[in-house]
Symmetry: C2
Subunit: 407 residues, 2 copies
């Protein structure tokens, strides 16, 4: 099940990057040659880099290594090596050893120093990491390096994702055109779960590493963290942004606002693709929160609604259950005045000033909720801040996937 | 579906209290005479009283009135009037008017002053409150007042509960025997939902109202709030404790510790009954958290595990998925050292010091998780504090109940 999957246009090559993939049989030797499960993203020059990681206290070795690497070398990163099929997590002291070997394999294949290589692993946890199969296969990825390798890489990092996810954008700043291309994988329903959320974005726009980091955190809060409702992230969740700055000769961007807008749009698109491909999801619902005292408040309310099992089952049942939505708002833990709240389903006004709207008819709300895609708008009447959160419904298929199969 | 419902012994009469019920047809006039839906609990003397209420920002009028009444009259409360079938919630300015009329109806029938009467309403929200039918029926409840009315009252406050819930205890303090009797209703699965959690406990032990309030808050945190995982409470949730102090002649209890132990045990029993009767619940799981730096930390970790959809579906699927449990711990938002965590399923040691235990065999864990009732123990290795949380699994039946029927 997946909701309104768009036809994706081919991803754009990004000056300064080449990408290769390989089939290593990471999950099982029987899969070797059958599906790609290793991606190598190589910068032709030293790249500026930023990363945003899981907030889970159990952090896999690739996350710990990546954070340490960025702390030292965020302006000279040369490659990312990523595998699907095994998360190299829940393995105690061996994790770090294997993560290091993965990085060294990527460095050797890309002919760069190991201390400027980032890594990411996704897949089963608690199973010994088959580093030998990756060491054998990585040269296939290096041999395949190509500026047009993004789509193959988006496929190689899939686990339970039913389709590959990517997005590209171009932005014109001061007469120069810059490219952004990102790939991502899901796929929990409620939030990126043990299956891990990964996202890698590359650009040729010249931006200082310190600026990139601040920007990426802000962008993640408005995109991937708006589907990662309730912060329930996995051990391996990672978002990397690399800038080759290769369109250069000219100076770093003085004004990065246009770039950030483009990056935000691209990350929102990737995040939405993850929701559309969420486990058991049959509806794609946008929660728009307006009139909040702060953006943080708005996001908190949006997430509280998006994560409520009672709200999500109401979505599944096409039940315009305004009571459950308001109760979720009341439980968000932020200051609200219940007499100022306005609630709409698409254009249908349901609740206003603490009362059901007199013109509201149940069948109008039901009509909206019966659609595969709709928007719930909540105005809190407390200020000017806004936030948008995207979520799916909670269905029998979700229970089947998560209760009847081991992930 | 309900898990291991115990045979409940008859509730004990509490000196100083009489209880009556009536059938008013609150939900629908067609139900009048068919099922009891109004309960009147009357103190023969002025009672000391305490209350704990929903933390939802949408609070029904009965909650707002009850809080105000306790602020003024916590040492002279004379009655509680409670109805099922209509929550008198989501109704704007009419709520307060109807709540007042409900209180006045109870006061008149019990022949006490309205300003010392508490009320509680549970049932559908957003439907006009049928105060006339209660005004007509309340005298039936007054005429039925009897010291042995607790079981009838436990039945009268039911909504979707599949069985009536009560518990009694006796405690001997300084040569005097005191009685406690409580009734409660559920019944969401994850947490008391819009269907409302209500609990009323009465005792003849003489305790100051100010002490009662502090004690009830602490007891609620260790009982009802340990099933109300994630604090996602409804608009009407209420727990009242009334003390008639009628066994008197002798002075207020100097040492209330034994009493608090008995009250805690009674409230835990009621809370567990609510979980066992939770929507779609097929398993009853106890989450024991030990070795925490503080009781608050322990409870936070227990709730994080208890509320995780991935953990709850693993319970449903009899999948001993330690990875999901540890991930939920990592997401609890408190300081932990992942290398110090120990995880057991009943007596089976699964995880220790950051690694799967070498002797752990998957089939042993699966054997535990296949039972209708088991305990997950998490030792955090950070201190001496503990907490226990009770939860159910997340099943297809829950989806069916909440997606296919409107509550």
């Amino acid at each position: 099940m997946a909701v309104n999957i768009p036809e994706l246009e081919k991803p754009l090559a990004v000056p300064g990057f080449r990408i290769g993939t390989a089939s290593c049989g990471v999950k099982s030797p029987a899969l070797k040659g059958k599906r790609q499960d290793l991606a190598l993203i190589v910068g032709d020059v030293a790249c500026h880099a930023a990363g945003v990681f899981t907030r889970n206290r159990f952090r896999a070795a690739c996350v710990r290594h990546g954070e340490a690497t960025l702390a030292e070398h965020s302006d000279t990163i040369r490659a990312i090596i990523a595998n699907a099929g095994n998360a190299n997590a829940g393995l105690g002291e061996m994790e770090s050893f294997w993560a290091r070997q993965l990085i060294e394999a990527g460095a050797e294949a890309a002919a760069v120093a190991a201390d400027v290589v980032l890594s990411a692993s996704t897949g089963v946890i608690g199973t010994p990491f088959p580093i030998e199969r990756i060491q054998e296969g990585v040269h296939e990825a290096a041999a395949a390096l190509d500026a047009d390798g993004w789509e193959a890489a988006a496929n190689a990092i899939r686990t339970t994702d039913t389709f590959a996810k990517w997005s590209s954008a171009q932005v014109n700043i001061d007469g120069h055109s810059y490219t952004l291309t990102g790939i991502a994988k899901g796929s929990g329903m409620i939030h990126p779960n043990m299956a891990t959320m990964l996202g890698f974005v590359a650009t040729d726009a010249p931006i200082a590493a310190s600026q990139l980091q601040v920007m990426l955190k802000r962008v993640a809060d408005r995109s991937f963290n708006c589907i990662s409702v309730d912060g329930d992230t996995s051990t391996n969740d990672t978002l990397y942004l690399l800038s080759s700055g290769i369109g250069l000769g000219h100076a770093p961007l003085a004004d990065t606002e246009l770039f950030e807008q483009a990056l935000t749009g691209l990350c929102i698109e990737l995040a939405q693709l993850i929701v559309r491909d969420g486990e058991g999801v049959s509806k794609f619902v946008t929660i728009e929160v307006t009139g909040a005292a702060s953006e943080a408040d708005a996001r908190t309310v949006g997430r509280a609604v998006a994560v409520s099992p009672l709200v999500k089952t109401a979505f599944a049942g096409s039940d315009a259950n305004w009571g459950r939505i308001l109760s979720a708002v009341g439980n968000a833990g932020i200051a609200i005045d219940t007499n100022r709240i306005t609630l709409l389903a698409d254009d249908v006004l349901m609740f206003k000033d603490g009362n059901l709207h007199p013109d509201y008819r149940d069948e109008d709300g039901m009509g909206v909720f019966a659609q595969p895609e709709f928007t719930v708008t909540l105005d809190l009447g407390m200020g000017d801040a806004t936030a948008t959160v995207w979520t799916g419904d909670l269905t029998h298929e979700y229970i089947t996937i998560n209760a009847e199969y081991r992930t």
